[in-house]
């Protein structure tokens, strides 16, 4: 009877194998239909919407111990394991509160300006021994000011309408700086021992921890560009005239004498009556471009910068430089070398030093073109053109229309940003994560304004 009962129990389930008790269906490679269904069921992630905007960023590189890079942890590390970084050889992102529209690098200090209508429009960092960054009140001692500013700190400008005026442009020289506003003229601060701030030279004036910021308003029309040379200042007005003040021993004020000028005076010479659209200077030589594409120069010519028109090494009256290289769009003047950009997008260099055509070209009085293939032009990409050219003291920087930055020249304390410490004899690309919109070159550091991808 027991055997019969067991057989009865087993009979219905005899054909099914024991293993299939818990599983449903076969396990095997998924069929195409199962794969497709699994794929359609996966969630879709969205990382960027259609209205995603490109962000504006600031990148800095070069010598950091002066504080000019604006990163305090490079100079005074905030964590125990961090070491002070003397040189930042590759672009480093600087966090800023506002979108920076204009930047300028001086000799060991930097100015950043934004064209906002907020009260704080200009920030400065770096050397402040001559109050070129205004008065930065020290937190430890309320009566004293900082000599080195390690972080972008607001510069208080004595504006009449602080919530309406906008800062258009900033410029820095060796120990002075100029801030251009749209309706309140030009503000100058810093060293004035040669009248470069546009005010009367005071004997034995102490420039450090000074609160004085001078305002310049007497020009024939609105000032649209300010440029600082080493110890002189140039102002370009809307009517196309150029004013200068400051040190003139090399003739860089272009006023016909070699003395200092403490009041901005209009330049004559070959640029009288000419509509100038751009002025450039960084050392002791100056270049101006007219609306017809002609270039004029004055100032120091010890390095053959103006040797094409004159043998004298100090030219104190603007002279026209008759170069037959095409219509010139932009000029950039460095310490010993000059560069111009033509309408076709080619760069011509002349002067002395590392000019960008290999180690053999050290000096030339006549402009030589840098082959466009060095900027990425090739049969594959034939629409690459150089859009802007900038000069530091012994470096050059070029921006292409694709947003790439090329640098060449003396690599002083890593200021080229290539990642290497050697000098660069021909244009070399700087890898910046974004499209470079503008770059400002200093003596040993550079600042660039970049739009993210």
């Amino acid at each position: 009877a027991m055997a019969g009962a067991l057989r009865a129990l087993r009979a219905p389930g005899a054909t099914r194998p024991l293993l299939r008790r818990g599983l449903r269906g076969t396990a095997g490679p998924p069929s195409a239909r199962q794969l497709r269904e699994a794929e359609e069921a996966t969630p879709v992630f969205q990382y960027a919407g259609k209205a995603a905007r490109r962000k504006d960023r600031v990148f800095v590189w070069g010598f950091s111990y002066s504080g000019a890079l604006g990163v305090p942890s490079f100079v005074k590390p905030d964590a125990g394991w961090k070491k002070p970084r003397r040189v930042q050889p590759t672009p480093y992102r600087l966090e800023t509160e506002e979108k920076i529209s204009s930047a300028a690098c001086g000799y060991g200090f930097t100015l950043l300006a934004s064209n906002t209508t907020d009260i704080t429009k200009v920030w400065g960092m770096g050397l402040n021994k001559d109050s070129q960054l205004g008065f930065q009140r020290s937190r430890r001692d309320q009566t004293k000011g900082y000599e080195y500013v390690l972080e972008p700190s607001p510069i208080p400008l004595p504006l009449e309408k602080p919530q309406q005026t906008r800062v258009l442009q900033v410029s820095c020289g060796r120990a002075h700086s100029l801030v251009l506003t749209d309706s309140e003229g030009v503000f100058t601060m810093g060293n004035n021992s040669y009248g470069q701030c546009g005010r009367k030279v005071v004997e034995d004036e102490i420039y450090s921890e000074s609160h004085l910021i001078h305002q310049l308003n007497e020009f024939d029309s609105r000032v649209v560009q300010v440029v600082c040379g080493q110890d002189h200042s140039l102002f370009r007005t809307k009517k196309g005239a150029v004013y200068a003040c400051g040190w003139g021993a090399d003739g860089q004020t272009g006023l016909g004498h070699y003395n200092i000028t403490s009041v901005p005076t209009k330049l004559c010479g070959d640029i009288a009556g000419v509509n100038i659209i751009q002025v450039s200077s960084y050392g002791d030589c100056c270049l101006a471009v007219s609306d017809e594409g002609e270039v004029f120069g004055w100032g120091n010519s010890e390095y053959l910068q103006l040797a094409s028109v004159t043998e004298t090494t100090q030219v104190n009256v603007p002279r026209h430089l008759p170069f037959k290289i095409g219509k010139i769009k932009e000029a950039a003047c460095g310490g010993t070398g000059n560069a111009v950009l033509t309408e076709e997008g080619n760069i011509f260099v002349w002067g002395y030093g590392i000019l960008g055509k290999g180690p053999n070209l050290i000096e030339t009085a006549v402009p030589e073109m840098i082959p466009p293939s060095l900027f990425g032009w090739s049969d594959f990409n034939s629409d690459i053109r150089v859009a802007h050219v900038r000069c530091g003291l012994s470096q050059f920087a070029a921006l292409t229309n694709r947003g790439e930055l090329f640098v060449w020249g003396k690599n002083l304390r890593g200021c080229l940003g290539t990642g290497r410490m050697e000098d660069q004899y021909f244009p070399w690309r700087v890898t910046v994560p974004g499209e470079v919109v503008d770059v400002a070159c200093g003596v040993d550091h550079m600042v660039s304004m970049v739009k993210s991808f």
């Binding site: 699994a38 794929e39 996966t42 969630p43 879709v44 992630f45 969205q46 990382y47 960027a48 919407g49 259609k50 995603a52 055509k357 290999g358 180690p359 053999n360 082959p371 293939s373 060095l374 990425g376 090739s378 594959f380 990409n381 694709r402 947003g403 790439e404 050697e422 000098d423 660069q424 004899y425 021909f426 070399w428 690309r429 890898t431 499209e435 991808f453």
Partner: protein, 260 residues
Amino acid sequence: LNAAPRRAPRQQVRFLPSPAPGGGGAVELVPARVPVLADHPLVRGPRFRRLKIGTGHQLDVKSSGVLVLGIGHGNKLLTDLYNCHLTKVYTVSGLFGKATDDFSDTGKLIEKTTFDHITREKLERIVAVIQGTNHKALLMYSNIDMKTQEAYELAVKGLIRPMEKSPPIITAIRCLHFALPEFQLEIQCLHETQQYLRKIVHEIGLELKSSAVCTQVRRTRDGVFTLGDALPRTQWDLRSIQDAIRNCRLKVKTELQKTL
């Protein structure tokens, strides 16, 4: 190949006995030209029993395009061509919206993303940056001292190339077609593998804040050999192979002379 007419057998002069013109019985030795028996086809056998065939740069299972083969003496030319370090051109097609584990569309799906924010302009910007960084790598791996005048002259002509082993470098890249979600790029590169190109497509997707997979990799040029020289499957016969070898001979010779 074995059916082709072979060289005529060597001839030798042998002195064969033949009956003298005079009386019967005397045997005279007469010189005659007879073929050497050792050269007889039945003795020698077929001319080619094995062929040495080698390949040039490798091509993946999932890729297509020009593959260079060398036969016999051509293998030595292949090594020389490899040492020339010439660039190869690929046409790579990709698809936005998916990310897989092996970067191609047949792999296991990892993630799906939106891609309607991508425009041709953004793609071209990313492509320009890739080209820029690879150009820098090109100059760095070529091991030339940047401070010399010859380095400058080579850089102007665009002839600086790494002449030894180096990581994959893309010398030129541009966008051919763009129709969301598909896009096609033309990539000219050195020392690369096809999987590296698929990885580049994946990374382009990541840079554009989306994801991309590679659907097709096709080599359109390998050094001096272009699609026009390549033989499609219908032409894999002796006559076309011989014609192709003859046509390429001159090109290969000039290229080798130019570089080495």
